[in-house]
Amino acid sequence: MPELIVENIHLKYGTAEVLGGASFSVEKGKIAALLGPSGSGKTTLLRTIAGLERACEGRIRVSGQEVLNCSAGLDLPAEKRGLGFVFQSYALWPNRTVFDNVAYGLRLRKVAETEIRRKVGAVCEVLGLGHLQQRFPAQLSGGQQQRVAIARSLAYDPAVLLLDEPLSNLDAKLRDEARAFLKELITREERAAVIVTHDQIEALAIADTIILLNGGVIAQEGSPEDLYNRPKTLFTADFIGNNVRISGKVVTAGDGFATLDCDGLRVTGRMGQPKTVGEDGTAVCRMDRLTLAAPGEPDAVEMHRATSMFLGEKWEHVYRLGGHSLRVLTDGPVAQETSPIRIPRESVWVF
């Protein structure tokens, strides 16, 4: 049985519906990522699970125990849910040392002082904070503060760990390290974790399941590979990956693939939904899969090179045809004014 089960959560601010029936579950040792654009309700959903926002409909179970059941009038306050929560701002109490911050949950649970010392010591050791226990939060770096926040939420052994954009306040280099560290830690400590992020790379990298939210409802849920390779909606296809969107008319359809004619630019891709000839359609192409085509390769379109830029590792070229432009990466400079561009059909979805 999953450690965390969230069912059909509805939440309103006044009359505006923020969450319109979100459901998902997380197993022990797994990480679910709530991903979505800003305003999609991902943080609100996380806060609802923690009990910091009040849902008007839905059920939540933590370790088999019901903490929210709106139809039965059950709504445990945050302090009775026994969850761990890592805030985006880390929310470390500035008037307490690292030790006291981490020990707070144990003190509230009336754990004996020697046991507190042992547990806090162990958690701090795991997070590499052993030597910093007597420091105040203001004396720590951003990365250290983040680890204190995680230590604080782990110290009292919650089964479920909720993290609200835990990596967004770190600089780019630290973020990559922290991501790997976090994934390893949660798997090893066997918690069920829910992580909120707006960064799809982060979600793809860290999560076992991605829950993609759009406008307060779940657009698609699945493994990172699922979402990346088998998007079910235009929103999912477009949100995941670095894409270009092209609109046109369907000229051929069948066998799971459809071809769009976009003012002369022909694109073939997998049909995300059934399409018929003559219909309007939108193609979502993964930008990083575009290449210069070798002669005779399929899915190639002859395009005109508008400009080239040297990016260090790669060259980026802008190719135009009619009103459409595509950006293509190559390893070296390109001399030709026009080239065939390959838009591989496996990396295109038509909706």
Binding site: G51, L74, D75, E79, R81, Y104, R152, L162
Partner: protein, 556 residues
Amino acid sequence: MRNESWRNGVALLTALFILAPVGLIVWQSFLTDAFFSPRAGVTGATYGFVLDDPGFWDALRNTVVLSVGMVVIAVPLGSLLAFLMVRTDLPGRKWIEPAIFLPLFMSPMVLAFGYIVSIGPSGFWSVWWERLFGAPFWNVYSMPMLILVVGLSHVTHVYIYVSTALRTVPSDLEEAARVAGGSPLTVATKITLPLVWPSIAVSAVLVAFLGFELFGLPYVLGDQDGRMVLATYLYKFNTLLGRPAYQLMAVVVIFIMLITLPLVMLQRRMLRTAQRYSTIGGKATRAHLVPLGRWRWIAFAAVLLWLYAVVLLPLSGVMLRSVVTTWGPLVAVRDVLTWDNYAKLAEMPLIRRSIVNTVILAFVGGFASLCVYALIGLASHRSPLKTTRGLDFLVLLPRAMPGIVAGLVVFWIFLFVPVLKPFVASLAAMWVAYTLVWLPFGLRLVSTSFGQVGRELEEAAHVTGAGALRVARDVTLPLSRHGLMAAWLLAFLLYSREYSTGIFLMGQGNEVMGTMLVSLWNGGNIDVASSLAVVNTLVIGGGIALALRLGVRLDA
């Protein structure tokens, strides 16, 4: 289930604390006699009696004239002072700034005494003036003088609002106008003034409202000619008919609040608009000061003259009067110098007690009030409940209550409730009245402090397993302790200064300095009154010095 009943409980108690006095006033106003009298019947005739009394109309007219006069004097001067302090290179701004706040904390009774012993018919300055230039041209007991005094002593109130607004106006707006060819004066009137206009309007309404609250200055300076304002008219009913005419007093209170309540509501509405206005410029740029040129020293002299008129002149009077045995046209100061008046303070048990009581009430009582405000503040802090949000509106009622009225109704409540009756003339009753009067102000201070504690810091404690009270104890209170300390200090200052609230509550044993000053004035005991006024000012001055030392903002 979530337990938020404690919030409702606190809100309910607060509502009771506010509404019970108001209810009692309304009820009393429809009775033929005091509410505790067995002969009291229901009637509406009392309203007619008051409305038929020419004295009431006189008092109302005087109050309106006073109030309008205050606005006319205080608003332009206060705005000008704010402009000089914030936007120009006026010399000595650093040390003028704290001095500007002094009038806020000067007891009006001390001020009133000060003017009488300084520029009264045989005051020090009047006598000196007469020796040099002949008979003085002023009469301290005249209406224009009263208007001038109250107007000048409320310049600070306007200054606070307008200077705050001026600081949010980005100076690049002014610079843009200067670059476009505007002279400093044009820029000030065409660019800066329109931007702070809403704040000036708010302060005008505030000053008008304060005009209806005035008691000490009109009582001392206007009473001799029988010129009354509403508050002194109310006070007269206590003794006028041989015994207190409670029903008449209740009606007068209702009339006062019918005027002050709309003013308070108007001010609240305008303040919200003004705040919306002032958030335009978010960028904190270094303000470029307007050079005053040769006006620099003229402006400087004008500011000093104002400070002299509202602080130094009255203070020097009471200080001098407190160290002489007598004073008059033919007396030389060195012949009459004495410390006897201070010795008398210590000798008279009543006075000694009033000093001790004031310090206890201001220090311990101030802290106790702060605890009450903090509890109410915590109940409404980030509260989702409608009940606690209703409090925000309810506190307008005590806001609209002049101190003398609040003292009166608390006095009535203590008479009315049997278990409280033995305490009617105790310091406890005094404390309740003070707490009621300063409830809106105190609540605003603590709410601001609590609001500055990051929301996530509290939520972190919640999810870690702390209930509402635990979060308050472990996170909210410790992190807002500087703001709370400042609020305690301000309560100390205001409670030490307070005089009108205790007038009706004063009895054997609970005298405080402020009320003692009023009764010493009634008894004509100027020597002792002056020395007590100096002690009162010293206590407040000590508080102000501590506040400045600790960096507490006096314009909160």
